[in-house]
Symmetry: D2
Subunit: 426 residues, 4 copies
């Protein structure tokens, strides 16, 4: 965990702030100016928008929120960089973010730099009486920026992947082992009353709280993620053309959208290839399958005669291996793609953290007694609690210190541009 | 309950079959031929399609399913009257059902009549060895037809309501009491481990099973439904224009669709009117509010500082008053609209059954261990378990013997052409 | 010509009125009530709408237009039956005409009957001082009703043709000759200054006037219409898949809409069939091709190395055979489909009138000096003079006395539900 | 005229080639990298696409067309930079041109530079036997590039104009005279038989040929363009809300799109402002109105009780002032906006060339005897001859030596991002 919800040492907070801000820019290092600007589909935001929006978040909720006489850096930036805060006012519409050539990338970096300076100055001078709320919102802003680091990676993947020139973001750093992955095993968990959700003193999002009791029956999880090789069996068995495996909405989606494989996959001469951030290459059978929708995850589970875990089951299991977070394949490993199971890892339950977000069978709904944060920040999570499913565990695009066992990610059933995959339950 | 899942007396089954089939046609008595044909929106099916589809269900799954040499009544009817059974084959697309002038209404009634005759004959002669499966499917067909009775009522309401000539389906039979409804009271329920779902021997749908344990905390429900008068307070307080109360999807929906009141409401000279099956009239403040979406139910609850019940809470409470089913305002009462609370009713928890389907805060998901029925019938419920919310309790368009405390209805969050309303929880 | 633009004998005018009104209803005789109600595509209006709209035209512009104290038959009918007259006020939207079950067909016939009575009465009593304008508008109303007779036929063809049950409107009355049609010949016309447009004393539409001079070079027209057999050669030669023959908009249209043959054609076992008002049957090679768009007509001409005639060329040629109108295949012949060339007909230039409307290469634009009629009637023709092409000659759904050589019909380039065909020029 | 259609001096051709190519890049000098990439609406292409496409044109039709062993600069560039040549093969879809970050702007400039070198080399070595066709296609490529210079200016105007930051392309160079423009006068032209179209020896497009006879009646044209001040009168008189002035398609367009003024206009505190390439400023009443659709031009003419000229009338009049081309406001004047009438200009008929393209009342159709160029180039003009109207005279974004009196430009009735305006006729 990178920050407590309460007050902390000013130097430590500043350091976390600056480290996080720098990490965002580090992710952009391989980009050309042109890559920052476009938006191939409505879900994707141009990288320069992420750079501006995360900066605006600090300007709006910290600098402006705490200083009545604060003069914004630019009068139009709030309009351009507000994402969805109705409390804050009108905004440039999301599907049109790729229609803006200005501000230029250089101007956005200047904006970042100036706000960083102001944040540093203000952080050193904010009166103690306001420290509690200030520290909380700064910490929230840091986690917010981390979330956008992940989106930045998945969005620029989309920007590069739809381009017929197939640009490489970063060269692949390692090769997959030649030997194939052993068959998955079932790890058993006993049922009982389980405390679901976050109850500690570190930072957590409002949607992880309050911790509350749930009743679990005995269950088992696969010890590892489903691989590309296993998913290809599903494809080869006609999985995408047999309606029996599919939810009605999912069947409609694959008919309408013409899906016959995970996103970014392409078949050439009978062989599956996929576009990755390391370039276009053959699908590696040993890697965890990724870029699949909830519908595909659910259909795969049906085909396999199994099911997806509930979020409570997943969290129950993850609590037993929470320390393994440090071993996961996160954004810091610079793989930018899920990697095959490490054969030297002797843990029973593996790949719970990192690699791919794991679809659960749980709808994204408020926990009993859910209370959104106060103020405009109340719009952060709560208003999205319909028509989405919960995902758990983080991915290869998640910063390591951003994830925890109680963390709830959420997407609509048909989304697949994130690094999303499958672990089966029974 | 009208039928057991097991075998029963042949005469009794036949009687239930014929009674149900006749009831469907009775509901159509007030219609003009033209009313049977049209489809004002994709959700609505033309009445003659309901008449044909329910008949096809018996022909396909009983007559044809049990007799290898069965010759269908008409070679094209399966194509025209299959709703969504992929197992059965191609079909005329749902949004285009209103584009078919033929078969004529008369021809569809002939189809019904002939199939009734064949069912009677076959029901009397089906060998005992096949009785178990035959009885089950016949019973399912009867419940299926009852579901379509409800849809028939709500669909023809839409057909009449969008017409500028404002046709009346049936005259209103009673007037609302002049005195206003007393304030709602909270009925407390204690928590604990509760058995959710159906476990009896009568008919039930697969989605109500298996019965399983859930943990409930203490909770309270309103003793009655939210009224039009109460909902008007929400409107007058700016409920539809304050984003704070709304889920993001809901806010988007009301912006896009221009909703400012329940469906079928219209404001004339500052007064609210609504189109009902009894014609166009002033909104009765004492009647339960209806024709609202999940989004509106949820926003109302937020505005009221309360919440919607979970389906487990609702069922837990309903079990205490299951006998009250016989007192509810169902289709048999011929009101075709929710009615005000009966002042003479002394029960603590009222209007749980009938009047309006009550939106719950539970997503429509499979119960743990859910097993769909075998064969084509497996498509009946399971494949719709995404992007929908559960409703409970039946409505003024539900046949009385069709409903029970474990019954799960489900619709997307933005649907409101059904008789749908609100009961708050806390 | 059925009526002069000036005043005429009252009895004669009444007779024309009543004859035309009766003819409309005669066309509906084979319909079932259900056929009157639906609208399979936005271009099509339900037959009962045509019956009501033509009646409303007389009520609005004659009965109400000439009598200040006139009380409309029904307060909502103007809203329901106004087609596109902005001057008249709001109206039910065209694409939604098929969503109205009421008024019933019976009620619309009653409306017709009552208005006929009122027209008869008023026609006998209108003061002479108003006769000129009254007669003009009545005559316009009669021609207007004739135009809707044609639309009624083409619309009900669509209603029946999209139905999988393939209903027959009227049985075919004659068989095509077994011998094939002789090759077409070129009829030469000399150029010079030609007077284009109408300048007589009978009724004409404003868009045919004023007569004006145009310069024509020498040209030639085919002596007959292009046949199905000839069009099949185009298809078999890959006409629909070779972009060279197509306008860019046409190529886009056939890609998007998947056109590979004329409307209502279907290929079964390598043989072309088409749905006609006489039922589903093999395509008759000798019949003129019909139900093709301007794009297809233009592509066919390109493939044939020829071109479509301009409207001036067509009219120049038609003037030489204007008497042949009486021999054409019009709605009165009850064929309801174009028929093969009559081998006994010895005229040089054949099939100029009736059978199919002939696409010209002329855009539908105002003639120099064009003056729309005064008042609301000004909206009749002029406002549609963009993005449409001119068609000439009438079809098998046109009343014989409705057509003349100067008559300009017009449709968008992609429309093909009318009886539209091809005559080549060079 | 910059080039003959026949062979010419190699040095002269090379000079024209290089001058034109350099001019394109000169127009891009004020751009930021980001401005090159985006596509705010489907009609607009990103500037870097124009740079690449015009280069591809030379590579494909000259370098590759004349050298059998030519190796393309990049294997994917044909796919990326082909506009609409079906003969050439598949291509990246036009509405998606703004989704490509690569090739980068720098890479596109390198592509231009290399092709320029190869063209220079090949131009000096092409054998005389191929000179005729080579010179023609090179000249066509030069005119093609000039057309894209105009599109580049109008497209980048759109890119900058929709941006809330209101970037300036180039500062305004002159101020409008304070005195207002004198009332327009009518210039009379006598009718007769006129030779329409191009018949000279210089370069012309196929759509200007063949020259052919048309009959003109006497007519008159306004001596100057309609001004913003005059158009504001139309607006203030309720022109946009009175359906009488509008074609039905136009009325539908302005309802649907919410148009209440020319494109890029905005009303602030009752005053009209417009976005120009010189920035956001008050509408200058003396400037010719521009950025209006054919529908608006036609409605204005109707409101004024006049009409638009036919293309034959316009050309007939323009022939009398063809020498004035040298005085017009073209792209070379660096105004990048239409300018007020020069009070010192004593010509009778003014502003015929430059400033704004003038909408005519003529549909864009082939001239009698039209023959497209041979080969892939046949797709250049002919296939667009439907659903468009002709515009004449060039604009402030047209290169001076690109325009002539016979030049036919064409756009759909609802397009208004070009510099398009009005001159009335009667």
């Amino acid at each position: 965990m990178i920050a407590t919800a309460g007050t902390m040492n000013r130097e430590k907070l500043l350091e976390q702030y600056l480290t996080t801000r720098a990490a965002t820019q580090e992710l952009c290092a391989p980009l050309q100016v042109e890559d920052y600007v476009i938006q191939p589909m409505a879900d994707v935001s141009p990288p320069k928008w992420h750079l501006g929006h995360t900066t605006w978040f600090f300007e709006r909720f910290l600098l402006q929120g705490f200083q009545s006489n604060y003069r914004p850096y630019h009068e139009k930036y709030e309009y351009l960089f507000n994402s969805y805060y109705e409390s804050v006012g009108d905004r440039w519409l999301r599907p049109d973010r790729g229609l803006l050539s200005r501000p230029t990338v250089k101007e956005v970096y200047e904006f970042r730099s100036v706000i960083n300076g102001r944040m540093k100055e203000f952080l050193e001078s904010v009166p103690d009486s306001k420290r509690s709320q200030f520290d909380f919102l700064t910490t929230l802003g840091i986690h917010h920026e981390q979330q956008h680091q992940e989106l930045l990676v998945t969005d620029l993947k989309n920007i590069l992947a739809i381009n017929p020139l197939r640009p490489v973001y970063r060269e692949r750093i390692s090769n997959s082992p030649r030997t194939s992955i052993p068959a998955s095993k079932w790890i058993e968990f006993s049922g009982g009353i389980f405390e679901l959700g976050y109850a500690g003193n570190e930072f957590s999002f409002d949607n992880e709280r309050p911790q509350h009791r749930v009743l679990l029956e005995d269950f088992a999880l696969q010890d590892r993620l489903v691989t590309n090789g296993e998913f290809i069996e599903f494809i080869q068995d006609g999985g995408y053309s047999d309606f029996h495996h599919w939810l009605a909405d999912g069947w409609y989606a694959i008919q309408t959208l013409g899906w016959k494989a995970p996103m970014y996959w392409e078949q050439l001469d009978g062989e599956w290839y996929n576009m990755t951030l390391n370039g276009f290459r053959k699908v590696d059978q040993n890697e965890p399958v990724c870029h699949i929708s909830f519908y595909e995850a659910d259909a795969y589970a049906h085909w396999a005669g199994k099911r997806l875990p509930t979020e409570a089951e997943w969290e129950r299991a993850a609590k037993t291996v929470e320390d393994s977070v440090v071993d996961g394949n996160f954004v810091e490993s610079n793989a930018f793609h899920p990697v095959p199971l490490n054969p030297n890892n002797r843990a029973k339950l593996q790949q719970m953290f990192g690699d791919v977000w794991e679809w659960t069978s749980s709808a994204y709904l408020p926990y009993p007694g859910f209370k959104p944060e106060a103020g405009a920040i109340s719009e952060y999570n709560g208003k999205f609690m319909s028509n989405q499913m919960v995902l758990r565990g983080g991915s290869c695009a998640t910063p390591r210190n951003h994830i925890r066992s109680t963390y709830r990610n959420f997407f609509q059933c048909d989304k697949r541009w994130q690094f999303t995959g499958i672990r089966l339950a029974r």
